[in-house]
Amino acid sequence: MARSVTTRHKVTATIAAWIVALVIFFPILYTLITSIKTEPEAIAGFSLIPSGTFENYVTVQTQRDYLKPFMNSVVLSVGSTILALIIAIPAAWAMAFSPTKRTKDILMWMLSTKMMPAVAVLVPIYLMFRDFGLLDSRIGLTVMLTLINLPIVVWMLYTYFREIPGEILEAARMDGAGLWQEIVYVLTPMAVPGIASTLLLNVILAWNESFWTIRLTTTNAAPLTAFIASFSSPQGLFWAKLSAASTMAIAPILILGWFSQKQLVRGLTFGAVK
């Protein structure tokens, strides 16, 4: 049946939704605007019209070497995600295609490791990192981020792999496909979307991780989270520069995030909401 939606209803809902959306988005929008103001403009009171200078971006790069923490963020988030995928893909594969009675228990146990509060192991991890010379090293932090996100990666891959019908393998085998052909032509194309989604969500999570990345680094391996946290004690006029640094820190991941809405729901609810 055609439930006619009156135009008035749609217009009212539209106005309300846009107001809510703009209020929620406002802090980000205002940061973006402030980043292209001059410093005196930035503290001159509320204004949505900037003079449009890109000076702040240049200053952040020349004075604070923005590129270095940016590259650290890229290396850490992508590196830890790929490492986690290499470890997790076989595990998720085995659990999805040859499940045993204990598969569910193993999955639940993996999830439970995610619930260990980071502060609870801050002391031993910090001391171990110190003793092994891993403080402020990319390698140490990459391993850390891999371990933190491994349970989520296994879980996400598992929920995707589980949806690949097992019958299709049998059909391929009946048609005379060997194991290699089976993997290359049948399984891989079906598994790639799930792996890509997992990669995307995990890069976002690793990029934004703000406990270990701040505590275990100082300068050399410090990613954007630590870089930005160092702005918390300002000197002089810095509103516009802070905005420029913030914009550069969040822009790449914000754009990635817009493409990941569906995966986000699925990945972070462990398949409980789809």
């Binding site: 939704a17 509320f46 703000s210 509103w239 809405q261 409980a272």
Partner: protein
């Protein structure tokens, strides 16, 4: 029948993940437990001795400890209240037919992707700053005194910042759940003369119950460990007014060099998290059986 072979292969494929997580879970936790019974200060590392439950007594008698537990619960409770109620309201709104739905969704979801230190600094300086913040500008325009958020209401300020970060998450999950509600059911209820409120209470809310549970539990795990937001805004102060358990442990360990005391606090944090985890595992586990 390659069952025996397959099973061995499956075990081998799972082994790296399982072993890594096993080590990751047991070794640091065992060390924390061990340290929690030691008198161990980083400034005096030669003098480590067994003290039994002394570290726990220290936490038990320290007023900062009780305040931090209270603050932890306030942050978790306050943020949950705002995000769940706000999330339901916004999800209901976005579920309506509107112009530019895709863009609206993108705007609403965005705060979730902002890294915690950036979110905290934006709010601290651009929005809540008593001199130059937008809220101060609004107050001045209306003829009121600007509020010094982080001095007067530090905990509330942190709750607002964290809620802003998690509201998109709640909204997105609840919206996804809403969209799976059978539209024929809605129409049937409408035809039977059920008004909006009745439809919401008897149809929508029961349908959302599971998603709401998931939102509450997952957020609680992350909210128990709020850290960066406190670090860059109030640094736990004034006094201990905005110190939560996670921040207190950090302070004890890395600013006070007290390994034993911090470890005892860590064990208490584990116990708190386990209580939450118990319920979450039940909710997620039930879903696996379906």
């Amino acid at each position: 029948m390659a069952t025996q072979n397959t099973r061995t292969l499956a075990r081998l494929m799972m082994a790296p993940s399982v072993l890594l997580l096993l080590v990751w879970m047991i070794v640091p936790l065992a060390m924390t437990l061990w340290f929690s019974f030691q008198n161990y200060n980083l400034l005096n590392p030669a003098n480590v001795s067994f003290t039994g439950l002394f570290n726990y007594r220290f936490f038990y008698t320290d007023p900062a400890f009780f305040q931090s537990i209270w603050n932890t619960l306030m942050i978790v409770g306050g943020v949950l209240l705002i995000t769940v109620i706000g999330g339901i309201a916004i999800a209901l709104l976005l579920d309506q037919p509107i112009f530019g739905q895709g863009i609206v969704r993108i705007l609403v979801i965005s705060p979730f992707f902002v890294m915690p230190p950036v979110a905290a600094l934006i709010w601290k300086n651009m929005i809540m700053h008593p001199g130059y913040g937008v809220l101060a500008d609004i107050n001045k325009a209306l003829g009121f005194q600007p509020v010094d958020w982080f001095a007067q209401y530090p905990l509330l300020a942190i709750i607002i910042i964290v809620a802003w970060q998690w509201l998109p998450f709640a909204t997105l999950i609840l919206l996804t759940a809403l969209q799976s509600l059978d539209s024929e059911q809605k129409e049937a209820a409408e035809m039977d003369g059920a008004n909006f409120l009745n439809r919401f209470i008897y149809l929508t809310l029961p349908h959302l119950a599971r998603a709401i549970t998931v939102v509450i539990l997952i957020q609680t795990i992350f909210l128990l460990g709020v850290y960066a937001e406190i670090l860059v805004t109030t640094n736990g102060g004034p006094g201990y007014a905005s110190t939560n358990l996670a921040f207190l442990i950090y302070r004890t360990a890395l600013l006070g060099y007290d390994v034993g005391g911090a470890s005892a606090g860590g064990i208490i944090a584990v116990i708190l998290a386990n209580i939450v985890a118990f319920f979450l595992m039940r909710a997620v586990g039930r879903n696996l059986d379906r």
